[in-house]
């Protein structure tokens, strides 16, 4: 069994990358709104499913299908905010209302996908172009390389977005103190919309790079949300570097636990690990970007 370890580690890192992307998405929405986005995993599912649909059923060439799938997912993310979150926000609804609402979104989206696209798992071909790499005794497939590459690119792109652009800085300001940001002229509502759009973009990118590896299905979102959340907690909510570490921790734990403990129970093992982690370290291993702030949303 022990000679399997390098393979499991590499697999864990590749899976961890998608959880990290998800954790960043959850953190973005959490920072600007204080809401835990229960629909984050659905964006991953939508990115994969819509791209697969555009490629397989509509017959678009892969690059266009990918652009279409990602764009549609972002539109859905923006609509989610505009139609379901903003009215509650303007009404001054209690904070549990948002969680309920996002859970409703996370219920309706997969069911709509099931109706429109079907129950079957879908996939599309690997992107190619990049070679597969041999790391010691482990073969890293071309698509796995894409996953790692895109994750790193996303990380640096987001970092410079938050550090260099005015919009990014405004979002960060909103995260640190919403009221003061509003006084200083930040359009807070737009920042919230943007955080949902960005979260959907991240989710969709995650779904697109990941689907060629294991295919995706209408009900794949819940486990993506849970694993992403676990990664976000470990990494400290909204802490991007922490999210990467958290994602890797969850990915590797999952890969090793399913191999060594049991594969019958599949996700249950990961959830149990998640569960234990949250109970032992509810505050995570890293500091959140913002220490939990004012409760009112």
């Amino acid at each position: 069994m022990i000679d399997l370890l390098p393979v499991l580690l590499v697999n864990g890192v590749v899976f961890g990358a998608i959880y990290a992307i998800n954790a960043i998405g959850i953190g973005l929405v959490y920072n600007t709104t204080g809401i835990i986005n229960f629909a984050q995993g659905e964006f991953v599912m939508l990115g994969g499913m819509l791209t697969a649909f555009l490629f397989g059923h509509v017959g678009l060439p892969l690059p266009f299908a990918i652009i279409g799938g990602v764009a549609l997912t972002v539109v859905i993310g923006l609509l989610t905010e505009r139609l379901f979150i903003r009215p509650l926000w303007r009404r001054g609804a209690k904070d549990w209302t948002y969680v309920f609402m996002l859970f409703a979104v996370a219920t309706v989206l997969p069911n709509l996908v099931m109706l429109g696209v079907g129950r079957d798992p879908l996939t599309f071909p690997a992107f190619g172009v990049l070679p597969s790499v041999k790391l010691g005794s482990v073969m890293l497939s071309s698509q796995a390389l894409w996953v790692l590459l895109v994750t790193v690119l996303v990380f640096f792109a987001l970092q410079s977005f938050f550090d260099r652009t005015l919009v990014g800085k405004a979002m960060k300001a909103t995260a640190i103190n919403r009221r003061v940001a509003a006084w200083l002229g930040v359009a807070v509502e737009q920042m919230v919309a943007m955080s949902f759009g960005l979260a959907a973009l991240l989710g969709a990118i995650g779904g697109v790079i990941f689907t060629p590896l294991i295919s995706t299905q209408f009900d794949a979102g819940v486990s993506m949300t849970l694993n992403g959340f676990a990664a976000a907690i470990i990494g400290g909510m909204g802490n991007m570097r922490g999210a990467i570490v958290g994602g890797l921790v969850i990915g590797i734990l999952q890969s090793i636990s399913t191999a060594f403990i049991s594969s019958v129970y599949g996700d249950a093992v990961t959830y149990a690990v998640l569960f234990a982690l949250l109970i032992i370290w509810p505050h995570g291993l890293f500091r959140p970007l913002i220490e939990l702030k004012n409760e009112e949303i």
């Binding site: 229960f38 219920t107 019958v264 032992i280």
Partner: protein, 327 residues
């Protein structure tokens, strides 16, 4: 409309309707309303958690499952008497809820929602795959009828009365809870946590107590479910059940006392009459409660109470009806 029923009148009317209903309903509708009573039991507890303590659980379907499976396994596999099995199931589930709630409810924010969702996923997966103990996908058939002090609840009608008896007792108990010292502390912390804490409310302790209480209600409903259908199966308690529970809360009216009852009766009736659309039940309930959050934020009961209050107060010259918190 100036007349408004008093609390006693409303409760008496409820009891009368519950007692008389089987004389008019068919056997099938009695079964449906018994299910409605089971959902009401869970919703009453969940309403205390969400509506009064302001915390969310997405795992109450799993607490129902725990109650049902422990009852089923102890009575069928080990031949325990149902009442003893029920006691172990309910107390055991309460203990599990305590172990989850105690660390998590110390943390602010909605971590409880996420961890209970993970817990529910674990329970569902384990219950359908741990074949030696839970019977896997086949479940546990042959759960015996419940009998209390020699009286056997061996017909659906008898179970209907038992279930609604429990539901109404818990319903009345929740008035006592909400109006007790504990309940006032609970409402205070739901309204403003920091203010409640500074007034001496032990916020964490309160939350843990209410979470455990609501889990116990769910476990009790799960036990009754097992004895009602004489059968336990993991698919009875999957995510759709949680979605239905949330729809019950929101449509009925979160934070109102009558909301869970009204919501449970309404939505269980809807879910049993979907006919060919049963496949879309998750979609329908998701849209239903998402829509209710947007357009009917106080739920059916909250809306009716507000109208009645408005109608009563309008002549006295009060422009803004203030919806009563404990309605």
């Amino acid at each position: 409309m100036s007349w408004r029923p008093t609390h006693t009148q409303s409760v008496l009317a409820l009891i009368a309707v519950a007692v008389v209903f089987p004389f008019f309903g068919s056997a099938a509708t009695v079964t449906v309303m018994a299910l409605g009573g089971l959902y009401a039991i869970v919703a009453i507890g969940l309403n205390l958690l969400v509506g009064y303590a302001g915390k969310i659980s997405f795992g109450h379907n799993a607490f129902m499952a725990l109650g049902a499976y422990v009852s089923g396994i102890l009575t069928v596999t080990y031949g325990w008497p149902p009442l003893a099995a029920m006691l172990v199931a309910v107390v055991g589930t309460g203990l599990v809820a305590f172990l989850i709630g105690a660390p998590i409810l110390r943390v602010r924010g909605h971590y409880l929602a996420m961890i209970t969702l993970a817990f529910a996923q674990i329970i569902i997966i384990v219950s359908t795959r741990w074949t030696e103990v839970t019977g896997g996908l086949t479940g546990i058939p042959g759960v015996p009828d419940l009998s209390i002090f020699g009286f056997a609840f061996d017909t659906k009608l008898r179970m209907y009365y038992l279930i609604w008896f429990v539901a109404i007792v818990l319903f009345l108990l929740s008035f006592r809870i909400v109006d007790s010292r504990f309940g006032r502390a609970l409402r205070a912390l739901g309204a403003h946590e920091a203010a409640a804490a500074s007034l001496g409310v032990d916020v964490v302790r309160c939350r843990i107590q209410i979470f455990v209480l609501s889990a116990v209600y769910a476990a009790l409903a799960g036990c009754l479910y097992a004895h009602f259908l004489n059968y336990v199966n993991g698919t009875f308690f999957d995510l759709s059940v949680m979605i239905q529970l949330m729809a019950i809360l929101v449509v009925g009216g979160i934070g109102t006392m009558w909301g869970p009852l009204v919501g449970a009766v309404l939505l269980v009736w809807v879910s049993q009459n979907l006919g060919g659309y049963a496949e879309y039940s998750q979609l329908i309930f998701g849209i239903l409660y998402g829509g209710a959050l947007l357009f009917l934020p106080k739920g059916v009961v909250g809306e009716i109470t507000a109208r009645l209050n408005g109608a009563r107060k309008a002549p006295a010259g009060q422009a803004e009806p203030v919806p009563s918190q404990s309605a």
